[in-house]
Symmetry: C2
């Protein structure tokens, strides 16, 4: 799971989302230490300032906290991580449903289309 950045949205916003994702997916477990800003920036091929900005966003959210000189750490509050994960799930589902409804699909048709695509996937 690497870094996927597109140019049609602010990079720092995309970084926030992907960091959230990585934390919720357990790539950066609760309590663990994050790689330093400069390294994360290098990984993502991004300016350190931009990565810094993204990390600051996660801190406001409470997902990260900083020990000024020894690094940045993922929260140990697993409940919080789960809350964020649930929030993300709900957002993704809502967004998906909205778009499909606007295209004229009803609930059943949405499920059918999804199932069909999953079936394709497996081949």
């Amino acid at each position: 799971m690497t870094w996927e950045l597109s140019s049609d949205r602010p990079i720092y916003a995309q970084l926030i989302e992907q960091l959230e994702l990585k934390i919720c997916a357990g790539k950066y477990p609760p309590g663990s230490r994050m790689p330093p800003v400069r390294e994360l920036a290098r990984e993502a091929s991004v300016n350190p300032n931009t990565m810094q900005r993204a990390l600051a966003g996660l801190e406001e959210e409470g997902l990260l906290h900083t020990h000024r000189t020894s690094g940045r750490f993922v929260t140990e509050d697993e409940k919080l991580v789960m809350q964020v994960k649930n929030r993300l799930v709900r957002e993704h589902i809502r967004e998906f449903m909205d778009k499909m409804l606007r295209l004229g699909f009803d609930h059943e048709e949405i499920k059918a289309a999804l199932s069909a695509m999953m079936k394709e996937e497996k081949e």
Copy 2:
């Protein structure tokens, strides 16, 4: 169905998507005349230049064509409209699935979560 613009992405790109949606959903039927740029711009609370840019995008795509002075018209090629609609559907499903898979859901769990949210919806 009005205009929903957020500030975290280029407006002209959002306009393109929403115009595609409106055309695919039948709000602007094949062969029909589009409202003038200035009016669409007013509707969307956007600068005419920005709306112009979005419309130019739809023209490259073949969804619209222009009679220089009498206005802009939706293509009469219903097949093309359907193709675009199918493309949009596939894109939305793929994007949704990607995000959910990254969050650790498998196919069955994705369906279950979707169904659960639909059920909520109905109350």
